[in-house]
């Protein structure tokens, strides 16, 4: 080994600078906290939080700990992100394909949608849906039912709740169906490789996923009933719906704007992916006698997916991070509950902001690891 001064000096200086900056910050933080009489520590997480959260997926009230409040916020963030990702993907794929349509009107309509929604700041869209559009909805007593069971009111969307009996049997039947499908797929692949025969896997899969749960209803004793929300009068002018599931308007505004906004980016990714597959591929596939469906399924999509997935992953990450804008309309997500209310109450700025940032970092990194794994799985295996 021969160490050259020229190689070591720049690195040493950089590291020294970083260490100095961090040291300076920590030193100041210590002095500041001493002066203000704040002590550093994460012990507050077990203390009683004594604040309420409007919407939570797990049982929570003021008597629970700060850690529980953190969980409530985290679950709400994940809820919004998952719903947003699902809607944005569906919408994005439709719009992305529509942008490639030979039909002039559909093409332009999709282009208009993309250009319109992606050039307006997301925060403005959230404000628009929450403060302007959803405020124009009727009061609970004036709301008309959609399909007889949904009520869209200024206080949120009320949907029927599912009430299950023997839910676990239903759940097992679905698991069994999924396992059966995986087995059949593996078998079909083997048969095709050995004998060249094709088994209609798709039809069998669809059949299985419907028939097994249906059997659980017929034989397994699973019962499903709906609890329809019912209007109830609290006072002369105050009405509320009881029963069913209520989705708060914050959640609706947030998922709506997040998915409309992110779908534009996903649409562009999908379009770029499909366009990225050479025309020759399609023609070559058709010339060896594949049907249009097979061309799409076996030739175009596998290649397009390779181009689509990395940028789409980025969009999923963006959506998850953007869900933190929820704080602006008081949807109780991680930022509002933890970095907002909890910080106000405890005054532990460094601990709470660092936990919040670390949580988002973990979420982002786990999504990107998952997607990298999937990406690697479908990447071209070069020999």
């Amino acid at each position: 080994m021969n160490f050259k001064l020229k190689d070591i000096v720049p690195q040493l200086i950089t590291v020294l600078a970083v260490v100095l900056v961090f040291g300076f910050f920590t030193y100041n933080a210590q002095i500041n906290m001493e002066n203000r009489g704040i002590d550093f520590g994460y012990g507050f997480l077990t203390q009683e939080s004594s604040f309420d959260v409007q919407f939570s997926l797990i049982e929570y009230d003021g008597s629970h700990s700060y850690f529980r409040a953190y969980l409530v916020g985290l679950l709400n963030t994940i809820l919004v992100s998952v719903i947003g990702i699902i809607i944005a993907t569906i919408l994005g794929v439709i719009v992305g394909i529509a942008r490639l349509s030979p039909n002039y009107l559909i093409n332009k309509f999709a282009a208009f949608y993309v250009e319109f929604f992606r050039n307006i700041p997301l925060l403005l869209q959230i404000f628009f849906w929450y403060f302007a559009a959803l405020r124009a909805l009727p009061l609970p007593q004036d709301a008309e039912a959609m399909f007889g069971v949904f009520f869209l009111t200024i206080k949120g969307l009320y949907v029927p709740a599912f009430i299950w009996q023997n839910f676990n049997i239903f759940f097992y039947s679905i698991i069994a169906a999924i396992i059966a499908i995986i087995v059949i797929r593996a078998h079909a692949k083997k048969v095709q490789e050995n004998q060249g025969k094709q088994i209609p896997v798709f039809l069998i899969s669809i059949g299985l996923i419907f028939i097994l749960p249906l059997l659980s209803f017929l034989i397994g004793g699973v019962r499903l009933s709906f609890e329809v929300p019912v209007l109830k009068q609290l006072a002369t002018t105050s009405f509320i719906y009881e029963g069913g599931v209520s989705l708060p308007p914050e959640l609706i505004a947030l998922t709506l704007s997040l998915s409309l906004y992110t779908a534009t980016f996903i649409a562009e990714c999908v379009r770029a992916g499909i366009q990225g597959v050479g025309k020759g591929q399609k023609e070559a596939a058709a010339s060896i006698g594949l049907t249009p469906n097979q061309v799409l399924k076996l030739v175009i999509m596998p290649q397009a997916l390779r181009i689509i997935i990395p940028p789409t992953t980025n969009q999923y990450l963006n959506l998850t991070k953007n869900s933190s804008l929820a704080a602006a309309i008081a949807y109780p997500d991680l930022v509002l509950v933890f970095a907002g209310t909890a910080l106000m109450q405890t005054g532990k700025a460094i601990e709470i902001v660092s936990i919040t940032m670390f949580t988002y970092l973990t979420l982002s990194i786990s999504i990107s690891i998952l997607m990298n794994w999937y990406n690697k799985k479908i990447a071209i295996q070069e020999k």
Binding site: N32, P102, F127, V353, M357, L361, S364
Partner: protein, 480 residues
């Protein structure tokens, strides 16, 4: 004349099909049009759902009849090719046409016909349309925030001057073209900085931050004349020394007083706001995030492992957290990290936070460009005896940056769209001002107008930027 098979339109009975089909298509559109513009319901005598579906069915049959290949009529062929290729497309086309016709009247009436423009109180807004009076009355606040009315010419003047100075590049003759980079990278930001802090702020501007900027810019300018052998050590020592000299020896308080323009009142940054603040923040973040991002992109590809790890850590950290938490950090956590007597203005804090955040994204974009360059470019530059900096400045970066123009433009667009988030630190740019105006008791109930107004402004800015970047991309596209 052969008998007509109505299930199979063909060329032999072209005219019959053409007249019948266009007639049906026309009727269906007319029905929807009358329904939406004049509230006439021609098919009211039919059962409800049939009356609703009739235009669709008529139009579909009409389009089916005129779908004749190679009819020889140019316009018909064009129509068939673009909106009428098969049944599915025909239905979609019809639906889109109907949606447009249906949605035009309410939009038009809200925007223009029933809207109120006159007057300056809420009382004139009685119609069912938009109340543009609200926007008119609050216009100054939306544009300038809480900046005093009498002083707003300062913002206008600065912006006009900066736009004029910025457009110098278009008029430069060939002789001066080679200095343009220097001008845009060094001199113009300096002028802009001085303009905004002397003119728009007009007060005690020389806090530590500006010493640092002046020191950095001065040392870069002098750095051009330093022989490359000593450049590294020069940049290690001189900027810091300059900073110390500037702060402790040159700029005493009386010089600061001298620097103030007579007769200009100090306007604290808390009063800045509205669209002008959006511009100021975007402008500064744009200037700062680019060099920082470039440095980290180079750092990530550096051959020194420690520098590489630090760069990767920096980039991945900022890319992994949402901007809102970064701003939270700058608002509540950052003051804890500074000495107690050391105060940084919240606008400056927000600008630093957004710049660092966007710099990580710029770094990734530039890294993409660096990776896309073939190795031959590096090897050719090295074989000419160029060192690291010369190679990057004259060979690698010009090509890499050209490649990543769209990516950088997208990052800058994201930056502009992220500026409303500064509400977290208590600064109110245009969206923040809208939220403030909306809660004013005299003007309740006009949230929609405000948001639509801001949306239009942002849309124009962002769309213009994306089109400009597209033009830039086309202009600098070189075949390789």
């Amino acid at each position: 004349m052969s008998s007509i098979n109505f299930l199979k339109p063909d060329r032999t009975n072209l005219n019959t099909f053409l007249y019948l089909g266009s007639f049906l298509f026309f009727i269906s559109i007319l029905d929807v049009f009358l329904n939406s513009f004049f509230r006439l319901n021609l098919t009211g005598f039919l059962p409800n759902f049939l009356s609703f579906l009739l235009p669709l069915i008529l139009g579909f049959v009409g389009l089916y009849f005129i779908r004749i290949e190679y009819s020889g009529i140019k316009n018909l062929d064009l129509l068939n090719k673009h909106i009428n290729t098969n049944n599915f497309n025909a239905v979609l086309s019809l639906l889109i046409i109907f949606i447009i016709i249906k949605s035009l009247p309410p939009i038009l009436s809200w925007f223009v016909i029933d809207a109120s423009f006159a007057g300056d109180t809420k009382d004139v807004c009685t119609g069912s349309g938009a109340c543009w009076t609200y926007i008119k009355v609050w216009m100054r606040r939306f544009m300038y925030g809480m900046y005093p009315n009498a002083e707003q010419w300062r913002i206008n003047l600065s912006f006009v001057a900066l736009v004029l100075l910025g457009s110098v590049g278009y008029f430069a003759t060939d002789k001066f073209k080679k200095y343009l980079t220097l001008y845009y990278v060094v001199i113009y930001p300096l002028i802009a900085f001085l303009f905004i802090f002397f003119f728009i702020s007009g007060g005690p501007v020389f806090f530590d931050f500006s010493y640092g900027i002046i020191a950095a810019i001065l040392s870069i300018i002098i750095g051009f004349f330093i022989p490359s052998k000593f450049k590294f050590y020069y940049f290690l020592i001189v900027p810091l020394a300059l900073y110390v000299i500037l702060k402790y020896f040159l700029f005493f308080e009386e010089y600061i007083e001298l620097g103030k323009l007579d007769g200009l009142n100090w306007v604290e940054t808390g009063a800045w706001g509205g669209l002008s603040l959006t511009f100021i923040i975007s402008f500064f973040c744009l200037i700062f995030c680019f060099p920082i991002g470039m440095a980290f992109a180079l750092g990530r590809r550096s051959e020194f492992p420690l520098i590489r790890y630090i760069s990767v850590g920096f980039i991945e950290f900022w890319r992994g957290v949402p901007l809102i938490t970064v701003l939270f950090m700058s608002a509540v956590m950052f003051p804890m990290f500074l000495p107690e007597d050391f105060f940084i203005d919240k606008l400056v804090r927000a600008i630093i936070a957004i710049s660092l955040f966007e710099a990580a994204y710029v770094a990734e974009v530039i890294r993409g460009g660096l990776q896309a360059l073939p190795r031959g470019q590096y090897e050719a530059a090295k074989s000419l005896g160029m060192g690291y900096w010369k190679m990057h400045i004259f060979v690698i970066l010009p090509q890499a940056l050209k490649l990543v123009i769209p990516g950088i433009a997208n990052t800058f667009l994201a930056l502009v769209k992220d500026t409303p988030l500064i509400f977290v630190v208590g600064l109110l740019e245009i969206v923040g001002m809208l939220n403030l105006a909306k809660t004013n008791p005299k003007w309740l109930g006009f949230a929609m107008e405000g948001y639509v107004f801001a949306a239009i402004i942002f849309w124009i800015i962002c769309y213009a930027m994306s089109k400009y970047s597209y033009n830039l991309e086309q202009k600098y596209k070189t075949d390789r």
